[in-house]
Symmetry: C2
Subunit: 268 residues, 2 copies
């Protein structure tokens, strides 16, 4: 990792258990060292949907005088954030995850925190990030975020229902199926299929051919042959070798699409 | 500068003369030191339109086994580049400068050169730059570049004519006017107005109010109160204190707009 090798920053990774749940005790131990610390954790894991308790983490950081940087890419626009109450110092998000344009995101930086830019040059964005601002992208992102929160209650209910339906249909079709991760976020379902390893590539290829966009890991790793580094931390070797699928739901999906997906999976 | 303070890289700046012309002899001297060197120079200065001889610089770098990084933001889409012949190792460009979308650009990297990413994470763009690609921005940029080269000959002639016309009209209205920079690129005119210093802010304010978008320096510095760092390297103190204006022309501009601009300037 570049932080360690290039900047000499000591990096500690937190483990998760087989349900994907964070080791909060290890976090507490690390924070008790009272060295200058920034904690960087996702709110919702993008592959499994496992939720970190960011209020709990934030309070722990606050008590230990550590900074808390939270990747909310998976959850912004899909759940409420009260940044007046939530002890988060930095929050980052990507527009395309809440149906905004690709190639734009935003950062929330708690007042009075001073940052060094990574991209130098012009004085744009108070000198924090040089480069001509992409106004149409920013406007699109703002509108998308506004719409997300306008329709949040309805869409959350609709998507939660889709996920339940999908899991039920899958369990009916494949009784031995299991879910990766516990108490996961309402728009992500990560399943372990009771198929042999050899079938993994074939399954993904066939689903893709049928126009079904599900993945083995995150989109960032698509095309990569390595197994998911997230699941590698959760599953035992035998299960990790089996095919897992990450299914994301949006308010644009329908139950008919889920039926089609389950039928296709059955036919493979 | 961060390269020096954070990465311990020795940075040497090249001077320009009062015409904005680069000190090629100093460059040759520096290159003769035969230390591991990257030369980073603009092709066309964005404030004055002064052109650096990138073929000459490229050959000098090649002979000295130095790498040549060229900022062609001001010239891509507005003049021909034969990258088979031109000894450039890295070339960077911004889409909005050739009427593409804001917030996207591209880099040309000569084959077999190995780069370290600045943004880590996903495996996008061969791991050179993590982050979900903005497909619509990329498509828009490619189309804009294609159109630029499709219409290059006509547009260059039209814009060159506009610039000549503007300079003539300005010289008729203000005989004491002078041009900053020598043999400048066809779409930029940087003029030194024979007005007193106190008028600078007022001139810009008035032109802005009348819907005329010209600037004192680059857009990156707009809102900044500092005088142009480019002109500071070229002009004597007395001239630097006078108001200078940077005027850019595109094929969307007309002679009627130039008449309006010159009339407005006369009325101030």
């Amino acid at each position: 990792m570049a932080l360690q090798s290039e900047f000499g920053i000591q990096v500690e990774y937190l483990d998760v258990d087989s349900d994907g749940v964070l080791d909060y005790e290890k976090l507490a131990t690390l924070l008790s060292a009272e060295s200058k610390t920034i904690v960087s954790l996702m709110h919702v894991n993008n592959e499994t949907g496992v939720i970190n308790d960011i209020n709990r983490i934030g309070v722990m950081c606050q008590q230990a005088k550590a900074l808390f940087h939270c990747d909310t890419v998976q959850s912004i626009g899909k759940t409420e954030f009260d940044l007046q109450q939530l002890p988060i110092d930095f929050l980052v998000a990507s527009a395309h995850k809440f149906h905004g344009p690709k190639g734009i995101g935003f950062a929330f930086v708690r007042k009075n925190l001073v940052l060094q830019p990574m991209i130098f040059g012009g004085e744009q964005e108070k000198g924090w990030r040089a480069g001509t601002e992409s106004v149409h992208q920013i406007a699109g992102m703002a509108k998308a975020l506004e719409l997300s929160y306008l329709h949040l209650t309805d869409e959350r209910e609709y998507i939660s229902d889709l996920k339940d339906y999908c899991l039920n249909q899958l369990q009916t079709a494949f009784p031995e199926i299991s879910v990766n991760g516990k108490d996961t976020f309402y728009n992500i379902l990560n399943i372990l299929l009771p198929f042999s390893t050899e079938k993994t590539a074939m399954i993904l290829f066939n689903l893709d051919m049928k126009g079904i966009a599900v993945s083995r890991g995150s989109a960032c790793q698509s095309g990569s042959v390595k197994p998911s580094h997230v699941l590698a931390e959760m599953l035992n070797e035998k299960d990790l070798a089996k095919p897992s699928l990450r299914i994301s739901f949006s308010h644009y999906n329908t139950k008919a699409e889920i039926d089609y997906f389950v039928e296709t999976l059955k036919s493979i």
